[in-house]
Amino acid sequence: MFQVNNSPCWDHRVSRSFSRSYTTYPQHSSVQLCAFQTLRHSVSSNWRTCTLLTTIAFLICFTSYARLWKITPKQPLKQAIEQANAYDTLLIQKGLYRIQNIVIDKPLTLIGQQFPILDIQFKNEIFTVKSNDVTIKGIEFRNVGMTSMIDWAAIKVLEASNIRILNNRIRNCYFGIYLSASDHCLVQGNDVQGNPKEEQNTGNGIHAWKCDSILIQHNHTQGHRDGIYFEFVTNSTIQHNDSQQNIRYGLHFMFSHNNGYFYNHFHKNGAGVAVMYTKFVTMKHNIFEQNWGGAAYGLLLKDISDSHIEQNSFKTNTVGVYMEGCSRSVFTKNQFIANGYALRVQANCDDNTLTYSNFRGNTFDVATNGDVVLNHVSHNYWDKYEGYDLNRDGIGDVPFRPVSLYATVIERIPQAMMLLRSFTVTLLDRIEKIIPTLTPEGMKDEKPQMKPLKL
């Protein structure tokens, strides 16, 4: 049976069909669903026929029902939106609109032409979307004020589905795009730039709370507290985003299971990327770089389990990956280049595998704080490896111990950092390499690669 209410007939819960559904189906589909419900009943269950017919039906429907409004800066935008009918399209012309908070409580399409500027002069938030099927495209939002009680945002979505936020510019706003208890939303091609002040006075660039099946792609966030923030978000995809120079984290998520992060670029964030308390995360082809500072990490993983971290690149971070309480996760084909620490694995991590990765030019390859190592390390390339390969199979014959003595000493006595790069330390590390005594016995790569892996 098909649903008659506002929600669309296709099933978004299958994430594979999810992105396609946005591109092939127009957002007014639910109108035609209402209008041609009877038609639907007569049609056989053949899905394709149904789609074809509804598309034709939609075209007829669109011409007769939805209207197109043109709005210029002289007209009050708020009234225009109130007067518009559901499924109307509003073309907002170029210009500066000084507005109050606008609540969108019916399905509308708002399209900005040449980036009209909506300025709220730090008084409130700009759009509060409370309806399904809303599209907001090509608008510049400015000057959302700061509050402690309510998180004011340029675009706030409350308990809605099928929201599309496309190609907007958001400048100097407390929160940028804020999705709350929503599902099946698309946030694409937005450019969110905050005015960096201290951490307390700025919100997140793209914020999602308790959402499901959302797609966030090709966005740029800069100068916010967290570039992208998720809490209780599930089955979502985050890809091709660029998050940089945020005050706290480039990406921050908690309790957000079954999400995928692909081809994102996180750099120069105050504390890098932090992800916590989550299961079934997939992170592939991301770049984490230049997160330098006393408390900065490329990627901080806290209580992450059953996850895949693959083909990412960690360059010039104070700590490439910091793992605490991580279980059953797979790290493979990653690049660790020129980090302070490539990996810091706390002893409470278990059953993780680290394979086929390159470690080059890191001050410390691996540091750990205990003697017990319950993780599996093999087939990595370590530039500090000095072993030999007699049978020429590309795999070193003696195991490599990535934890240096000095790294172990520092874990116990942080003050020993004072001796960084001194001759004594080099000598101690040499001795330890020949006769290992203090470094954890279990932390070794039995099959180190002789040559860097091509990743």
Partner: protein, 255 residues
């Protein structure tokens, strides 16, 4: 005094050893900078070499030179010249030649390839390190008349400052683990010129972020101009104090 310094300087500059030392430093710095694409990393590798080689060469060469020119010193002492003047001009001659070698060997390539604040600090601290180890060498040389003993003492000093001292610090850290040692570490650093030079340079680099809380305390200290001045002053003390003690001994010494 100037005349003697000039003679000593000419004598050393003509010496093949100092030429060799200059070329060695030049070769090392050039290779590091051309090897590493990032000048900062080249600087870091260079730092390791400087902390090892410069003190060693400075202290050994100065000691040997002092003993080799003993007859010259004796001859000069027969002239109507104060011993202080003879000794100090000898010191200045050796120090100037080695500093020149350092400036040509390390200074020029560093300024050409790096040229930021950290490379400047590297050059200044390397220079002061040279001076202080020459100074220590002169102290070692005046303590004993025996050349072998003198060189031995110089080697022990180098060994102590480059290796043993850090080992001792590590030992102190292990045994007083439970106490807040950050401030104490600052003092401990000041007691060794090589450590002081190393940390001064490290603090000017990215790598300082690695150093955690201790690093932060150091950073607070060294990043301010005041801290930097204090550090430079302490390094200067490491130059002045040994040589002034040596002068005092030399003045009273039975040649």
């Amino acid at each position: 005094m100037n005349k003697i310094t000039k003679y000593v300087l000419y004598d050393i500059v003509r010496n093949r050893f100092v030429m060799g030392y200059t070329l060695l430093l030049l070769a090392i710095s050039m290779s590091f900078f051309s090897f590493e694409s990032d000048p900062n990393k080249g600087l870091l590798s260079l730092l390791n070499i400087i902390l090892m080689v410069v003190p060693l060469v400075s202290i050994i060469f100065s000691t040997i030179h002092f003993y080799n020119s003993y007859e010259f010193i004796e001859l000069m002492s027969a002239q109507p010249l104060s011993r202080k003047a003879i000794f100090l001009s000898e010191y200045l001659g050796v120090a100037a030649s080695l500093s020149l070698a350092f400036l040509v060997g390390v200074g020029i390539p560093t300024l050409v390839f790096g040229g930021d604040q950290s490379s400047l600090i590297l050059i200044i601290s390397g220079l002061l390190l040279t001076l202080s180890f020459v100074s220590l060498a002169f102290l070692a040389s005046v303590i004993t008349r025996d050349k072998a003993k003198g060189i031995g003492l110089a080697l022990v000093l180098w060994f102590y400052f480059s290796l043993v001292y850090d080992g001792l610090v590590l030992g102190i850290l292990f045994s007083f683990n439970d106490y807040p040692l950050e401030k104490a570490m600052l003092v401990l650093t000041a007691l060794n010129p090589t450590d002081l030079a190393r940390i001064m340079v490290l603090m000017k680099m990215d790598i300082s972020a690695l150093m955690g809380f201790t690093g932060a305390v150091f950073q607070d200290f060294f990043s301010t101009n005041y801290g930097l001045l204090v550090a430079l002053f302490v390094l200067l003390l490491w130059v002045v104090v040994p040589v002034s003690i040596a002068t005092r001994i030399f003045q009273k010494k039975d040649l």
